[in-house]
Assembly symmetry: C2
Amino acid sequence: MATTTNLTATTREKLGRAHHAAPLLSELSTRQKNQMLLAMADAIESQKERILAANQKDLESSTLPEAMRDRLLLTPPRIAAMAAGVREVAVLPDPVGELISEWRRPNGLLIRKVRVPIGVVGIIYESRPNVTVDTVALTIKTGNAIVLRGGKEAMHSNQCLVDILSSTPGLPLGAIELLDSSTRDSVQELIQARALVDVIIPRGGAGLINFVVENSLVPVIETGAGNCHIFIDQSADFDMADRIVINAKTQRPSVCNAAEKLLIHRSIAGTYLPRIANKLVALGVELRGDEDAVRIAPEIHRATEEDWSEEYLRLCLAIHIVAGLDEAIAHINRYSTRNSEAIVTANEANARRFLRAVDSAAVYWNASTRFTDGGEFGFGAEMGISTQKLHCRGPFALAELTSSKYAILGSGQVRT
Amino acid sequence: MATTTNLTATTREKLGRAHHAAPLLSELSTRQKNQMLLAMADAIESQKERILAANQKDLESSTLPEAMRDRLLLTPPRIAAMAAGVREVAVLPDPVGELISEWRRPNGLLIRKVRVPIGVVGIIYESRPNVTVDTVALTIKTGNAIVLRGGKEAMHSNQCLVDILSSTPGLPLGAIELLDSSTRDSVQELIQARALVDVIIPRGGAGLINFVVENSLVPVIETGAGNCHIFIDQSADFDMADRIVINAKTQRPSVCNAAEKLLIHRSIAGTYLPRIANKLVALGVELRGDEDAVRIAPEIHRATEEDWSEEYLRLCLAIHIVAGLDEAIAHINRYSTRNSEAIVTANEANARRFLRAVDSAAVYWNASTRFTDGGEFGFGAEMGISTQKLHCRGPFALAELTSSKYAILGSGQVRT
């Protein structure tokens, strides 16, 4: 069933340990897992100096630009926030063991569908060391083993954090493994180890995610791409539209649920476009647009075909004038990465139609796309935002780190 | 996001039509879909002669061995059964549109998680033409478009069935597409068309399934492998054990939930093994076993290491003597394909432990593994038996042909 032949000895050993740890983790009680999480949070705080020293090493050898360096940087408040995050996961309900459904068949068989851990979860991520702690907390809470492959630039920080976390009393050997980040080979090894790893979750830019999806033999939960659209309908309240567009574009432009495209109903474009363009430019947003948009607001640069697919992740927005709701829906379903889209309208029928017909993980009526987030949805934690349709879609956390199985209780039944 | 460059013109056209049909199908009401299904059932019956003629062409050009020819053969009762199956799907509840959960956030946002179709479902299968009709019924019922890639040996039958089914009044163009089965290229094209196809479900032998899993860029629901085990514990009732072992091995040896391995507790092997070996041999079962088993019952042939992983799919069974429950669990978790396993025991603690620790889709206490089936579970239909842990596990049907999305209703909320 499996290809493990191409693994280096070190990776094979680490994945083998994780595979061996998984059944032991699956048998831990909720109480045991929560105690371990609280011990991890305490250890992070008590070993703050050691973590800062390791992080300093990463910063010293870093050649990253300033904005990326900030993602890598750990500070005492950031370390305290990591520990607090682990404590929050400890108090969340444990999905493992949940009886999902139960029924008795006419032949007397009792069928029980129960929630179980997935097994071994592989995480591939980039520079932020807090991802190490966040993902360990979520996977241990759900009784899974975790194999981490972090960014090279954070290698000392990640190694230090994994050393601290995996020293937790009672935690099975292999529960937390960190792969070599100095070579891309370890990514390749992890995503091909179908016999040893049950799911891969890539967290990072489009390049990383596409590489994983295209090369993985292990099932993947695709996350993070976000070419998000806002459609301003004919009946939109302009003040509300302004608030939503400005928030979705400028509040945090580097994240996947930030708006990248603005569609405007033709009948209001002459009045609404100059107004919003003016406000966005004042906020430092670069504007691109189709021919009609440029004609109405000359501060807009002409967009190319590539713009409609591009995820800017910065203060840039492309504007398209549409004939109406149908054209807006068709444009979104053609170019969107199926993360988050919004309609601003006072017309309930149009809103319902948009919510139904737009094929994205989260579809908003009169709200900012920025709410697509585990915390904002009230999940109390988040592993990522799934932009695929299998297993989970949208923000996901503990329940989606589980699988199910059927336990069937009989009294000697055979099939006839 | 997608690679469609390597498609032949014909495949691109077919997949493009299916991709285009998907949103139209997703908007059909339950009533509309059920009417189409009933019309399909009527058309299958009224065009029986045409189907039989097409099937005759396949049979005439077939070079398959006799057992495989029977899988290909259509008869008037088999055609009536196909139509009846479609009518059964029509009366099942429609999962699409279901409100899975709904909650209001402190900021007033109303979040609704609703069930939606997946989009375009690709099915790759082998010789049985009834799979064409069964899978079309399930995918249309769930508002999905379907792309079929059947076996070459059934090409005339499949083409005829698809012609009849896709002529259903009201069905969008592209809802049912059949790819060229004369070349393996069409499999490769289908599983790489990530922009146009949302899920691939391979139904067939291990060779087909492994090829798809290893080469697909589209997410796969892995089905069908079944190296199933039965463990006879120390306290087992021997009569019950006999019934279960004989049923699981001999009632239909060619299917994935048939037993392939028998584990026996060492303390009862001396008495139980000769008895069951005797009965199995009388039923024509070839027996293989470890050294201890061969010593106890000399009619058993010595098994090799490969035997423990092999899925025989015929009247052959390998027997392993174990020291107890722990060794049985460890052996199963090492060699099983994670489909179905059973324990026969009077010891409830051992049974609970087995049900919890064995990592398979369906785990039985005192019942035959042969019950792992959508019909036997009471689902009224079955698309396959998933042996993976993401999205669905075990027998799956309508609900698992859906995804979900979040519809969020606001009144101008923005993120702070």
